[in-house]
């Protein structure tokens, strides 16, 4: 037994040597992984991380168009703008989609969604994902953290701009959440990643928060038109404030029309010009000679690919019989979205030869069958071609059109509407801004009006901004979205439309997050 004892001593020694030698092998790290300290080493690293915050608007994931940051939803469907567009347009008098077997689509077509609608949940997830990514960037770009990494001087100043832009992007996503969902969870850069249950924020409090954020970052943002293309500047900040103030009464019960007028005027005076030819705003080369777009989402057929954004807008609005190559998508054409009759009916002449904003294709306006793509006129506003008529390089299915998230024309309309809603200003200026859009559309002054009333605003917005994702918000502001005072085809699930309950003015908090986050409260009516 003595031998056995000695032996076990030796073994113990051997084992403890092995233990210390090998347990370090348990620290395995991903070979292509970068850690915060490798990413945020200098201004260039910060910029690539900032590009991620921006890219949450355009990309579904970072491993190509088939990848997504979210799970539980098809990658192609999970794009921010695609889902935002579906919720804003299909539920309005503008768009209807044939893909009634796609998750969530039919409920939106007929304005009868629930808290488990895939797209209602998808956009909410995507917006809060963007918020989380922005929060993480802001945590890393706090002045003390930047200084702690030894970054000073011009680089530190540049990072200050980046941080202000990340705050703007986060404020934009909170605006989306406030507009569509009202009372979402609230997280900032001060909250941890991991086990944490975010509080709920009320719509009114969220309004105040977004407003204060946008005002706080103004001095740290670059002056209008002075930033690089695609990055937010002060004009973008003002444009979002103007849009938010225009709808403030809906959000908080308190009107802010004079603020809306003030901030739209700031943008209008910032040096932007309407692009002379209307349809070129929506062409593939709209990033060059840009005078009108205040803040775009940037897409590129080769470098920024997703199945959402303008790729979705172009392909879903045409099918193979419409010569996809002439839209710059020779392998595309998905045949889904087209107009409800209420959209072309805004135009007396739907051919486009009088008002060049009437961009339609097809002959049958009536939507007899929701899932028949040829029922309803097709909207051909977005084309993946250059203004000289050429097709951009790399044309296949993906598009290079940048989407104008804010453009000058909206500010013209906000000014005019705020004036009409007693927000101040003067009628001459209001008419001037209003007519400027019509002159561009008509090519001359024959479309000019000498007087405008509030109802003209909704129609003019429909003509100018249709298919750009603002219709639901506008209809709610005009009290026409729910109820039965204004009907459109398939509203409420019948062909000629029927009234829907006012609870549909807000989308529900998705049931998945209600389960995961006990602090949340479902919106009334769901």
């Amino acid at each position: 037994m003595n031998k056995l004892f000695k032996l076990s001593m030796i073994c113990t020694a051997v084992i403890s040597t092995l233990f210390t030698a090998c347990t370090k092998d348990l620290d395995r790290l991903p070979n292509n992984g970068l850690f915060a300290d490798n990413v945020y080493t200098n201004a260039a690293g910060y910029k690539s991380a900032l590009a991620k915050v921006y890219s949450t608007l355009a990309l579904t994931g970072s491993n190509g168009p088939g990848s997504t940051d979210l799970s539980g939803i098809d990658a192609g469907l999970s794009d921010f703008f695609r889902m935002f567009w579906n919720l804003q347009e299909l539920t309005s008098d503008e768009g209807i989609c044939a893909w009634i077997n796609d998750p969530g689509i039919y409920d939106l077509d007929i304005s009868q969604w629930t808290a488990s609608n895939a797209l209602v949940g998808g956009l909410y997830n995507r917006s809060l994902y963007s918020v989380t990514v922005a929060n993480s960037f802001l945590k890393e770009s706090a002045p003390d953290v930047v200084a702690g990494r030894g970054i000073t001087g011009a680089d530190a100043e540049e990072i200050k701009h980046y941080a202000a832009e990340a705050r703007f992007l986060r404020a934009y996503q909170y605006w989306v959440l406030m507009d569509l969902y009202g009372n979402p969870p609230f997280v900032t850069e001060n909250d941890p990643i991991g086990s944490f249950v975010p509080p709920r924020i009320s719509r009114t409090d969220l309004f105040d928060y977004i407003e204060s954020q946008l005002k706080n970052i103004e001095p740290d943002l670059v002056a209008p038109q002075q930033n690089e293309y695609g990055r937010a500047d002060q004009a973008a900040d003002w444009a979002l404030l103007a849009r938010m103030y225009l709808n403030a009464e809906v959000y908080t019960g308190t009107a802010h029309y004079s603020d809306a007028l003030t901030y739209s005027k700031k943008v209008l005076d910032a040096g932007y010009q309407l692009k002379p030819t209307f349809r070129e705003i929506f062409y593939a080369d709209n990033n060059v000679n840009n005078t009108e777009v205040i803040f775009p989402i940037n897409y590129d057929a080769a470098n920024t690919q997703s199945y959402g954004g303008t790729t979705f807008l172009v392909n879903s609005s045409i099918n193979g019989d419409m010569d996809p190559a002439s839209f710059g998508v020779p392998t595309g054409g998905w045949g889904g979205n087209r107009a409800k009759p209420t959209l072309p009916n805004l135009f007396a002449d739907q051919s486009g030869s009088t008002d060049s904003r009437a961009l339609f294709y097809g002959t049958k306006k009536e939507v007899d069958k929701v899932d028949e793509f040829t029922d309803g006129l097709r909207v051909t506003k977005f084309r993946n071609i250059n203004s000289d008529g050429t097709v951009p390089a790399d044309a296949g299915t993906f598009c290079s059109i940048d989407f104008p998230l804010f453009r000058l024309a909206e500010m013209n309309l906000i000014y005019a509407e705020s004036f009409l809603r007693n927000g101040g200003g003067d009628k001459t200026t209001a008419l001037q801004y209003f007519n400027a859009l019509r002159e561009r559309a008509y090519g001359n002054t024959t479309g000019d009006v000498s007087d405008i009333v509030l109802d003209d605003m909704l129609n003019e917005r429909g003509k100018e901004l249709c298919w750009e994702g603002s219709r639901r918000t506008d209809l709610i502001r005009f009290g026409k979205y729910t109820g039965s005072s204004y009907l459109w085809q398939w509203k409420g699930g019948v062909k000629d439309g029927t009234g829907i309950d006012s609870h549909f003015n807000l989308f529900p908090i998705p049931s998945t997050d209600l389960v995961a986050n006990p602090n949340l409260i479902q919106n009334p009516g769901y």
């Binding site: 070979n31 992984g33 970068l34 991620k52 799970s71 488990s116 809060l128 695609g230 990033n287 790399d394």
Partner: protein, 990 residues
């Protein structure tokens, strides 16, 4: 550790020859049941390493040391017997095989005798394997063991199988058992270019499968044992005359069942008489009558050959085998070729104190992968169109502008012939195991086991120019646009290393009539898979814009370090107490959660050793087993899921700021506190044998509880970089009963009938899924997507089995056919919405059975294997996708074919969430029936010949009306049909 150096030392020592005085013993071994000679029986001079094996005529000749007095005669499945050498002629008759209690069974880190087993352990030996053309090892044991399911992934050449022992203990982590080949645990990582990792082992090299089912027997494998362990022992060399075995199988595979779809004439008649069909639709019809399934399937030829040589060279027992397999797929263009080499050396050194076991296996595989998309396309492609168009190209659906219709399916024959994918994989698994019995303390063994599993797989794939399946999202140029062929390649390497060292102390303590078997050890396991990334190219070698990968390689690596110990104490040969403990450290967890401790305990009472049964002539064995153990789980989990890090985006996922496109840095979602999933398991078992074990039975009942289930769930949004993460939330229980029955009802000199039957009942139930209990939470949707958009038909919910179906309850009209869109309002709120979905059955069979019969009459032997699953349900996605009349006339100007069953429901639109498509898929299958004839001696008694004929996948009895009722996961979506295979085999022994 330098493997090469370690290999050299024993090899040098082996050359030393041993000279001593010898005498010759001759003799023969027969089967006591039928007096037939037994070949391959090991005959050893007791207490020495002098041994040989009997020839096929049962005879042997052995030079033994002059002082040897007895021989030990043993054979797997026949037990062991001692015989006195006497006058130099020894004729032995070995006892029947029905249940040989002295049979040695491999358990984790050591062996034990079957009679001393404390856990729930099943062994399947070569003679009990499934017969026929079996090209992947796991299929050898399908239906053979209670509670072990082997479900092939379809009929593609070399396709692997899903193996489930007692249903699996996890939800989102792996449910695969740990597979250990000759002491080398496989990593479970696949390799590109080969369909499944076990396909790299030649089934003809396998001697035994040992399946460890309960926690007491698996806990020694700790963290990787929750789903059971399968130990594979390959054939070894043995001393004696050189023996050559040649086995060849030639088989043809045919399609066993085709889906009944519309014929060309039926399609023309349907469309032309359809009031909804426009003139435009009717104009789409062709004049042909094509059976697309006939166009894509073929009669497949397989040839499988193995030659092995066993003997001893320079006193070193060896076995060398060479195999060559060539197997066609029944889907045209698919083919598998495999060459395999296996070398085993088992020398004994230092006066038998050092036992060396060296195994090296190498395989080279070349696989031509057919485009399996053709299977679904053949179901839905318009039968009125011919394969080729008037210009000799493939018929495809064309749009008005002359380009391919992107919404139409592709020509199935074109999908096959215009797609090329060949993978080539080399793999080697090997180990050297040194078992050293101390000279001064022979009760103590040092055991060192060093092993590796390395592989390299690569391949090339391409699609032809202008093929329908080559839509370039980026067109090459105006002359190629938009359907340009592309090509690409893939490559992976696997480097897995295993190092184990343990001490084994075996001691009889005669003073108290006790026996100690103690093990203490250390293990190091490192698994590393490197994937190489390549650009994609057009066929003229221009690279696709943006396809140049950002990272040249992706490395996935994980490491596991273990310490373990086991003590088995046997009192009076009757009472066996066993306990084990293992602690594992995994690189997949953060430092604070890294180490898991997994204990087990077991007690066995050999009742038949008690005085009241010891002399019973009826009851030959009676054993009661009780066990408890905790095992862990970390496989199937991301290697780096606890680590916060960023990754750089791909070329196509950049973002433009100014005039520059930036690669974006994406933070990944992580679960900082992720830890071990733990399963506690209880097992009670009774083994009983009657009439000298001509009848044996084992009954096991178990209860298993998994806590901290690794579960993918929705997190409160805003708290991580995704909406779902995988973390430890949830509990699950499993209950089950198993019965295994073996009997030899008839046994005489000319006739013998063996049968074995097993039945298992298994019920799994999720008991917790969320961190906070919320009764309104229905569950997490799960399972494969049942339409092209990712909708799922299955759900994990508390109170139900994993992967339960979750659907609307279809309402039927008076004529018995379902009414479209009309579902039961189960919550009676007046609205049919997702609140009316209900849990309906599970895809996993609660009851599984296997039934094997072997009837031998003189030189003939008839063997059949039947298998049944009862209570498993299937979602028929093939029917739900196409089973509606709207699916025929597509508004996108395409005519699609549908199964005839579409007209039974006459739905207009797909009803993907209706329980109409959920059907009972219980089945009885005859896997195998075969007849073999032992022709005895040929070539002047120099060789022995056995010939056989076999049919696999003989019949299926089921109510399920899809192609095959046995699909793992319960969603039928165009499975690669399992062929019916007819095999002729020749087995020659020299």
């Amino acid at each position: 550790m330098n493997l090469k150096r370690l290999l050299i030392i024993p090899l040098l020592l082996l050359i030393l020859p041993a000279f001593a005085q010898e005498k010759v013993v001759i003799g023969s071994v027969t089967d006591s049941a039928n007096n037939k000679p037994l070949g391959g029986v090991t005959v050893t001079a007791t207490g020495t390493n002098v041994a040989t094996a009997t020839l096929n005529n049962g005879t042997f000749k052995l030079n033994v040391p002059a002082n040897a007095t007895t021989l030990t005669i043993s054979s797997i499945g026949y037990g062991t017997q001692q015989a006195s050498i006497g006058n130099g002629t020894v004729n032995v008759s070995l006892a029947g095989t029905a249940g040989s209690l002295n049979e040695v069974v491999v358990i984790g880190y050591g062996t034990t005798k079957k009679k001393d087993l404390t856990g729930s352990v099943a062994t399947v030996n070569e003679k009990d394997f499934q017969k026929g053309t079996i090209t992947t090892p796991e299929q050898l044991i399908a239906g053979k063991v209670a509670g072990v399911q082997v479900i092939s992934n379809g009929g593609a050449p070399g396709a692997g199988s899903i193996i489930r022992i007692r249903g699996g203990a996890s939800l989102n982590a792996s449910n695969d058992p740990l597979i250990v080949i000759d002491g080398i645990p496989l990593s479970g990582n696949g390799i590109s270019g080969v369909a499944n990792q076990l396909a790299m082992i030649n089934p003809n090299d396998i001697e035994t499968f040992t399946i460890l089912k309960d926690a007491a027997s698996t806990a020694i494998y700790g963290s990787r044992a929750s789903n059971g362990v399968i130990l594979i022992t390959t054939k070894k060399g043995r001393k004696g005359a050189t023996r050559i075995n040649f086995v060849t199988n030639f088989s043809i595979g045919t399609i066993a069942k085709k889906l009944d779809v519309l014929t060309g004439d039926e399609m023309r008649s349907y469309v032309n008489n359809n009031p909804d069909a426009t003139a435009e639709d009717k104009a789409l019809l062709g004049t042909a009558s094509t059976d697309w399934q006939n166009e894509i399937f073929q009669t497949a030829i397989t040839s499988d050959n193995t030659i092995s040589v066993t003997g001893a060279a320079a006193n070193i027992p060896y076995r060398v085998s060479l195999g060559y397999l060539t197997q066609q797929g029944i889907l045209k263009t698919g083919k598998l070729q495999r060459g395999s080499l296996s070398i085993g050396l088992t020398p004994m050194l230092f006066d038998n104190h050092l036992r060396v076991d060296i195994n090296v296996k190498g395989t080279y595989t070349q696989s031509d992968f057919a485009n399996q998309g053709a299977i679904g396309s053949a179901i839905s492609f318009d039968p009125t169109q011919s394969v080729y168009n008037s210009k000799g190209g493939y018929f495809e659906w064309i749009q008005s502008n002359g380009t391919f219709n992107p919404n139409a399916p592709a020509n199935p024959v074109g999908l096959l012939n215009q797609y090329h994918n060949t993978g080539k994989t080399s793999r080697s698994i090997g180990n050297i195991q040194l078992d050293y019995k101390l000279h001064f303390l022979p009760d103590l063994h040092f055991n060192l086991n060093l092993g590796y599993d390395i592989a390299e797989g690569h391949g090339d794939f391409s699609t032809d120019d202008s093929a329908r399946q080559s839509p370039a999202s980026i067109a090459k140029d105006s002359t190629h646009a938009p359907y340009s062929g592309t090509k690409g390649q893939y490559k992976q390497t696997v480097n897995n290393v295993v190092g184990e060292f343990y001490l084994n102390y075996l001691k009889d303590i005669n003073s108290i009539n006790g026996n100690i078997n103690a093990v203490a050890g250390y293990g190091y396991y490192d698994n590393k898979t490197t994937s190489y990334n390549f650009p994609s190219y057009f066929l003229d070698n221009d690279s696709l814009p943006g396809s140049t990968p950002i990272n040249k390689t992706d490395i996935q690596q994980n490491t596991l370090i273990s310490f373990y110990g086991r003590l088995i104490y046997t009192q009076s040969g009757k009472y066996i107490f066993a306990g084990s403990i293992r602690t594992d450290g995994s690189s997949r967890f953060a430092k604070g959660n890294r180490w898991g401790v997994f204990p087990s305990g077991a007690f066995t009472w050999r009742v038949n050793q008690e005085s009241f049964l010891k002399n019973s002539k009826t009851v030959s064995d009676l054993k009661l087993r009780l066990s408890y153990g905790v095992t862990g789980q970390q496989d199937g989990l991301g290697n780096y899921s606890y680590i916060p890090f960023y990754f750089q985006s791909q070329n196509s996922s950049q973002y433009q700021l100014g005039n520059t496109f930036y690669y974006v840095y994406t933070p990944v979602a992580y679960a900082a506190d992720i830890k071990w999933e733990q399963t506690e398991a209880y097992n009670i078992g009774i083994d009983v044998g009657f009439l000298k074990n001509r009848i044996t039975a084992s009954v096991d009942a178990y209860y298993r509880k998994t806590k901290d289930l690794l579960n993918t769930f929705n997190i409160p949004l805003g708290t991580n970089f995704s909406n779902r993460i995988t973390d430890n939330v949830g509990n699950m229980t499993t209950k089950g009963v198993e019965l295994q029955l073996n009997a030899t009802p008839v046994m005489n000199k000319t006739f013998r009938w063996d049968f074995s039957y097993n039945i298992a009942y298994n019920k799994r139930e999720i008991t917790k899924l969320t961190a906070n209990t919320d009764t309104s939470f229905v569950g997490n949707s799960t399972g494969p997507s049942v339409d092209f958009l990712g909708d799922q038909i299955q759900i994990n919910s508390v109170g139900y089995a994993p992967y339960s179906f979750y659907a609307y309850k279809q309402i039927y009209g008076k004529n018995g056919s379902p009414i479209e869109g009309l579902y039961a309002d189960l919550n009676r709120d007046g609205v049919i919405n997702q609140k009316d979905l209900y849990h309906y059955k599970s895809p996993f069979a609660p009851v599984t059975m296997g039934f094997t019969n072997t009837v031998a009459y003189k030189n003939w032997s008839l063997n059949m294997v039947l298998r049944a699953n009862i209570g498993n349900y299937m979602f028929n996605q093939v029917a739900s996708n196409s089973g509606n009349v709207r699916a025929i006339i597509d508004p996108n100007h395409v005519i699609h074919n549908v199964p005839q069953s579409a007209f039974e429901a006459s739905f207009q639109l797909p009803q993907v969430q209706s329980d109409y498509y959920l059907t009972n898929a219980s089945f009885l299958k005859m896997d195998n029936i075969g007849l073999s004839y032992d022709a005895g001696k040929i070539f002047n008694n120099k060789a022995n010949l056995i010939v056989g004929a076999n049919c696999q996948n003989v019949f299926v009895i089921t109510k399920y009306d899809g192609l095959d009722p046995e699909i793992y996961g319960g969603v039928d979506n165009n499975i690669y049909p399992r062929p019916r295979t007819y095999t002729l085999s020749v087995n020659l022994n020299f």
